[in-house]
């Protein structure tokens, strides 16, 4: 992939002199340990770790008061610190996030992206950094749907290109697409919009805690393993990320982040007997 052709440079230099770069969602707390570690990896900007999420996935990544927050973001900060890189979280719509990584618009995706075989054809995944369950949610007063079989022919809301998308299609032709799980959940209590939403258990519980009139149905359908996605040609960087991830798990940083947000360690899940999504 060739970048920055003469045309591109002429365009950006000639026409956009005044327009400064504004695609970042300026992270806070710049944990200022910047070494020269950056130069060993092929990064978007030297010494800077730029990673993307949708920013629409509370409590994992969301914006509050002009700052990106949430579990994914905290993990990103912790890894950046271990790598000695300046953290730079950005947001981009979920539907095109893999495309953005392949085009090297950012160095990694830390956005609760679960490992699947299909995605692994396009990008490399780190070790999982948490486990979550795929769960059915319905409006509080809905008694029609009590198990996964009841989804047959119902109108199901999912995020396009999410892991829930394919599953929803197994049960119904009537799939409604969203760019955020949270916005899909918001539609559940509204008369006539949706019968059910399939999303991560933690995301649904967060919405319930925020007062949304919805409820969960049955046990998790499967366990999925969100991991950090990196470009295929950036193997050294993937190794470094795995090492950093291991370090923050071993030195207790991970546990601290997880228990502060969820009162439990998200990696501490009994995955025996439940299907693992691939």
């Amino acid at each position: 992939m060739k970048k920055g052709s003469i045309l591109g440079m002429a365009l950006s230099a000639g026409l956009l002199v005044a327009a400064c770069g504004t695609d970042d969602s300026s992270g806070s707390s710049g944990s200022g340990s910047t070494g020269d570690a950056g130069s060993e990896f092929d990064l978007l900007e030297d010494g800077k770790f730029t990673w993307a999420s949708s920013g629409l996935y509370k409590p994992f990544n969301y914006e509050e008061g002009g700052e990106l927050k949430g579990f994914d973001v905290e993990i990103g900060y912790a890894i950046a610190e271990k790598l000695g890189l300046e953290p730079n979280p950005v947001t981009t719509p979920w539907e095109t996030i893999v495309q953005g990584l392949v085009d090297a618009r950012f160095d990694a995706i830390i956005g609760s992206m679960a490992i699947t075989n299909e995605r692994a054809e396009q990008v490399n995944f780190s070790d999982p950094y948490y486990y979550s369950g795929g769960m059915i949610f319905v409006a509080e007063g809905n008694d029609d749907i009590t198990s996964v079989e009841d989804l047959e022919g119902k109108k199901i809301g999912v995020v396009a290109t999410s892991t829930y998308d394919g599953v929803a299609k197994e049960y119904t032709d009537d799939v409604q697409y969203y760019n955020s799980d949270v916005i899909a959940l918001n539609d559940l209590p509204i008369e006539g919009r949706l019968d059910a939403v399939i999303t991560a258990d933690v995301v649904g519980y967060e919405a319930m805690a925020a007062g949304l009139e919805i409820k969960d149905v049955g046990a998790p359908l499967w366990i999925e393993r969100p991991a950090i996605a990196v470009n295929k040609d950036n193997e050294e960087f993937l190794e470094a990320i795995n090492e950093a991830l291991n370090e923050i798990i071993e030195d207790g940083t991970y546990d601290k982040i997880s228990t502060e947000l969820f009162d439990r360690n998200l990696l501490d899940v009994d995955i025996e007997g439940i299907e693992i999504l691939e």
Binding site: M1, K2, K3, G4, S5, L7, G8, L11, S12, L15, L16, A18, A19, C20, G21, T22, D23, D24, S25, A52, G55, L56, Y57, K58, Y62, E63, E64, G65, G66, V90, T91, T92, P93, T96, Q99, G100, D103, A104, R105, N179, S180, V182, I183, N186, A207, A210, G211, L212
Partner: protein, 222 residues
């Protein structure tokens, strides 16, 4: 109703600093879009008015393609579609798309304004010994510019509002921030009311500035 009013005020104050930053990005996109759009518009209007058939054809192809395809497709095309050949940042792709898009409409505005100037004007200037270029620069163009101010203003407002589409490639402008805010606060009603107000106020400021400029040029009189 009063309760809704309070939650709107609450969302407004909580998001103020974020939305102000985002409004700056929206204005930057709009500014680049308008300047680029005017340059392209003038260029292609002149091509279209030229006597040369190939030049006219080039202008027609540009206007047909750009007016015939949705802006959101153009934005995504510039950012993802051509990424392998030209890698633009999301701001650059968005601003250029806005400029190229509005340029096609502005070309037609300029062409209409120039053609609308009475033939007698150019006849009179050539009888005074001016060349074609001189008559265009000194006589026709100043009058045409004055006449195109109202429709141009309209196009500027459209460009400002169209900049919201750039959210699709992840530029942190007003609408993309509104989406994130609505998702995290579980308050879509209040959030979209607030972001609507930002656009409304920006458009009103724009309209007022254009009004001042029109008065200065005395657009009503020829």
């Amino acid at each position: 109703m009063p309760e809704t009013f309070y939650t709107i005020v609450d969302v407004f104050t909580r998001t103020l600093s974020g939305f102000l930053d985002a409004a700056v990005v929206t204005l930057q996109l709009t500014a680049v879009g308008i300047v680029l759009g005017c340059l392209l518009g003038l260029f292609f209007a002149l091509l279209k008015l030229s006597k040369s058939k190939p030049l006219q054809l080039i202008a027609n192809i540009y206007i047909t393609i750009i007016r015939g395809t949705p802006l959101i497709v153009q934005i995504v095309f510039l950012y993802y579609g051509i990424a392998e050949f030209v890698t633009l940042s999301n701001f650059q792709a968005g601003a250029i798309a806005l400029g190229v898009h509005s340029g096609a409409y502005i070309a037609e505005i300029f062409r209409g304004a120039i053609q609308g100037i009475d033939k007698g004007q150019s006849e009179a200037s050539s009888s005074l010994g001016m060349t074609k270029t001189q008559s265009m620069r000194r006589i026709i163009f100043p009058q045409a510019l004055k006449r195109s101010i109202p429709p141009l203003g309209n196009q500027f407002i459209i460009t400002l509002k169209d900049s919201s589409l750039v959210y699709v490639i992840g530029v942190a402008e007003l609408f993309s921030l509104a989406n994130r805010e609505a998702a995290q606060s579980f308050k879509p009603f209040e959030t979209y009311v607030v972001v609507g107000l930002y656009y409304l106020v920006l458009v009103m400021i724009f309209t007022y500035l254009l009004h001042l400029y029109e008065k200065k040029l005395d657009v009503d009189k020829d």
